[in-house]
């Protein structure tokens, strides 16, 4: 007890020291004024004192859990148990789907529009999840593929007046092609090098779009991109928002089906094995380059597709829409939701997009919280909010053998 108190006191004093210059002193060297915010010391002291208790408690719990897991005692939360129940899961999904379908009828255009943004991030999260969550390839430049899709629609629409539905697959294929071309030389790299190189690709994409004026119209961006057409029917803003919403719902459902099927297939198992141990993986006869490339390119494909929809939704894109910040948000969606878990990623996307939208007061602290959440999740709940659901296999075995045992 006393030990704990002492420890927390030390932590609290340490943080007061640590945050002193940045949180207490504010110096404005333009107007030559210094503001001393002494009250912040108090907040930091109390905050870090309390949090240090939490920290220790959580660490203790984590270590206990780890030990239990090693001894084979599975610790399942009630949520996880409920999700493992297939009947319950299917019913919940049906309810959710119905809710999703009637959403625009209940809520106004603004809500629908926000929901479209959230759904865009759901697909982005699921796409990145293929690379990061399943195959263990940390991609920090994922937004570049999103940009490829968005720009392919914007450019084809601007110069050749091509429609949304024609470009939709083209965007996906272009994203995929970029994934293959970029992925080919770099996928031999180890995980952390890969992260930094992909980060570079993300930045290069932005610089290219800024400089290549003749193609991308430079930093001022491309405006007046057509919204998706529906047999030439003229639609009002509200109608077309609803229309895009349903397109997104369809795409999300498609993405879920595809990633779910892939995850529980021969290819998906190979991805997961690759994440676990590359050397054992190749020794089991899995072609590493091909498997990595397929995960990377497939992730890029979804980003490309959803990029087209993004361009059609905002009707305007510029290079500034595709910064590292976007990549970081998509990554936090995957990390927060649960790497490899489809349901988790969906939940993550909704939390990260809708929370700052509805809690306006929170929006200023958005990135601060995301950053902290990434660290905390890695330490205390690396499997994310909802961990990966396990596939259940049916097998008969050899009868005489079981009788024998």
């Amino acid at each position: 007890m006393l030990q704990d108190f002492k420890q927390s006191l030390v932590v609290s004093l340490w943080f007061v020291f640590l945050t002193f210059p940045l949180l207490v002193v504010r110096v404005n060297t333009i107007e030559n004024v210094v503001v001393w915010r002494w009250s912040n010391i108090l907040w930091v002291a109390i905050g870090s004192f309390v949090l240090s208790y939490f920290w220790r408690f959580l660490l203790l719990r984590r270590n206990r859990r780890q030990k239990q897991a090693e001894e084979g005692i599975a610790s399942y939360g009630p949520l996880q148990a409920a999700l493992d129940n297939i009947l319950l899961r299917n019913r919940a999904m049906a309810v959710l789907l119905v809710l999703a379908l009637i959403f625009p009828l209940i809520f106004d255009t603004y809500q629908t529009n926000i929901m479209v943004t959230a759904l865009i991030f759901v697909v982005l999260g699921l796409g990145l999840n293929i690379g990061v969550g399943l195959a263990g390839l940390l991609d920090l430049g994922y937004v570049a593929f999103f940009g490829v899709g968005a720009y392919s629609y914007a450019i084809l629409n601007y110069y050749f007046d091509l429609g949304f539905w024609i470009v939709l697959p083209i965007g996906g294929i272009l994203g995929c092609l970029f994934g293959i071309v970029l992925g080919f030389p770099i996928l031999r790299l180890r995980g952390d090098y890969l992260a930094i190189v992909t980060l570079g690709f993300g930045m290069i994409f932005k610089v290219m779009m800024e400089n290549w004026e003749t193609l991308s119209l430079g930093p001022s961006g491309i405006a007046n991109i057509d919204r998706p057409g529906f047999f030439g029917v003229q639609m009002s803003l509200a109608q077309s928002t609803t229309y895009i919403y349903y397109i997104m719902i369809a795409l999300v459902v498609l993405t879920i089906i595809v990633t779910n099927r892939l995850k529980n297939s021969r290819v998906g198992r190979a991805w997961i094995a690759l994440r676990e141990d590359e050397i054992a993986c190749v020794a089991m006869g899995i072609d590493m380059a091909r498997t990595k490339l397929s995960a990377y390119a497939l992730g890029a494909f979804w980003a490309g597709i959803v990029g087209v929809i993004f361009a059609a939704k905002t009707t305007f894109i510029n290079p500034a829409s595709f910064t590292f910040m976007e990549s970081a948000i998509i990554l936090s969606i995957v990390v927060l939701g649960g790497m490899g878990s489809i349901l988790g990623v969906i939940l993550g996307a909704f939390i990260l997009v809708l929370l700052p939208e509805y809690l306006r007061a929170f929006s200023e602290y958005r990135m601060l919280v995301f950053g902290a959440a990434m660290v905390l999740m890695m330490i205390f709940r690396p499997q994310g909010l909802i961990s990966n659901l396990r596939q259940i296999y049916q097998y008969k075995g050899t009868k005489d053998k079981t009788a024998h045992d």
Binding site: T117, E210, F316
Partner: protein
């Protein structure tokens, strides 16, 4: 932290007001209010608050109270479209915003469809008005090409430059300015020895400055903002490069004088005409200082003017009907901190002009 509180309070106030009176004139305000670009959006938001407070105290517009709908777009085009739909859903009658050209362009389509007049205090991208695509768009600031033309004319006629290096920060604003400047120079057949983008946030620009010297440029036109500009002029001075520095409104900032210090001396830049002598301008700044105890910041006057112009147009139009309001904006003069203005067919403010400024003894001095 204070900003946070103000935001919260204003948000709560908005909610409270919605609850009380059903019949209000709704003025939407959109711009970056959080994140790194917030310094460009907050002053306009505060200007709108000051204007609305004053007008409501005097009985409102058309006998109704004015209600503010404040939305943060973070200068992100995607969020800007969401914000636009939000404002449309919330029934905004007129919108003051957005701040960044990119976000403005992204949001304008939505407003156009919903027939809402929009007025930006800061989006200077020329096509916004000149393309004719957005009849609902107005602005209280001159466009980039006007700035560039002014800068080039001044450089040629008053400074007599012969060889020009043009740099920009690759951004929307900076690159636009640089390209218009180059266009104007080409028309006058003045040699442009260098046209290049620099990386904003790079450690230093000494190499490119060496290049400016090597190309023998007698002047350097830069499109961009003050952080890069101060690095450039500092290097010019340190490297003893004898070239006149000419730039845009994004550089005309107190920070530029402070960061660059002596190196800023003799630099030229465009900027809105100095109207601090105008009584209305003085009143606006005083009101700000009384409320917040600090200098107003970027685009405060323009934002103040836009809020006044929009509400005045509603008053003159006698209703919030789109056509009537737009017509009023185009025909009725209004007294604002940026002068007596009305708007032309394209949406640019008549009577808002730019001047050249020169840094002399650590202050901006308007050139005649």
């Amino acid at each position: 932290m204070k900003r946070m509180v103000v935001l919260c309070v204003s948000f709560v106030l908005c909610l409270a007001v919605t609850g009380v009176s059903a019949e209000t004139i709704k003025l939407g305000v959109a711009g970056p209010h959080s994140g790194d670009l917030a310094p460009y959006g907050i002053p306009t938001m505060r200007a709108a608050q000051l204007v609305v407070k004053q007008i409501n105290e005097q009985g409102g517009v058309l006998g109704k109270q004015v209600e503010l709908l404040i939305q943060d777009d973070q200068c992100n085009p995607n969020i800007a479209t969401n914000v636009a739909t939000r404002l449309v859903s919330d029934g905004a009658h007129v919108v003051l915003g957005h701040i960044c050209s990119g976000a403005t362009r992204a949001a304008l389509g939505t407003y156009r469809e919903a027939k809402i007049p929009v007025m930006s205090p800061s989006a200077t991208n020329p096509p916004l008005t000149q393309s004719g695509e957005y009849p609902n768009f107005f602005r209280t600031i001159a466009s980039d090409d006007m700035q560039a033309k002014l800068a080039v004319d001044y450089a040629l006629n008053s400074l007599g430059v012969k060889k020009v290096a043009v740099l920009h920060d690759r951004g929307d604003y900076g690159r636009g300015f640089a390209e218009f400047a180059k266009q104007a120079l080409d028309e006058k057949e003045i040699e442009v020895v260098l046209f290049e983008g620099i990386t904003p946030g790079a450690m230093d620009y000494s190499s490119i400055i060496q290049r400016v010297r090597r190309e023998g440029a007698d002047s350097l036109i830069f499109g961009g903002y003050h952080p890069e500009a101060s690095k450039l002029v500092t290097q010019l001075e340190r490297r003893r490069v004898d070239a006149v520095f000419i730039s845009d409104d994004g550089v005309k900032d107190e920070s530029f004088l402070n960061v660059a210090g002596s190196a800023a001396e003799g630099a030229y830049m465009t900027g809105p005409k100095d109207l601090s002598a105008l009584p209305l301008n003085k009143a606006a700044v005083d009101a700000f200082q009384a409320a917040y105890g600090a200098e107003p910041g970027a685009f405060f006057q323009e934002g103040y003017a836009a809020a006044l112009a929009l509400l005045n147009a509603v008053q003159k139009a006698g209703s919030t009907d789109y056509d009537a309001v737009v017509n009023a904006l185009r025909t009725e003069y209004v007294e604002t901190p940026v002068g007596l203005i009305k708007f032309d067919e394209k949406g640019d403010a008549e009577g808002v002009g730019f001047s050249m400024f020169k840094v002399e003894n650590g202050t901006f001095v308007e050139m005649q």
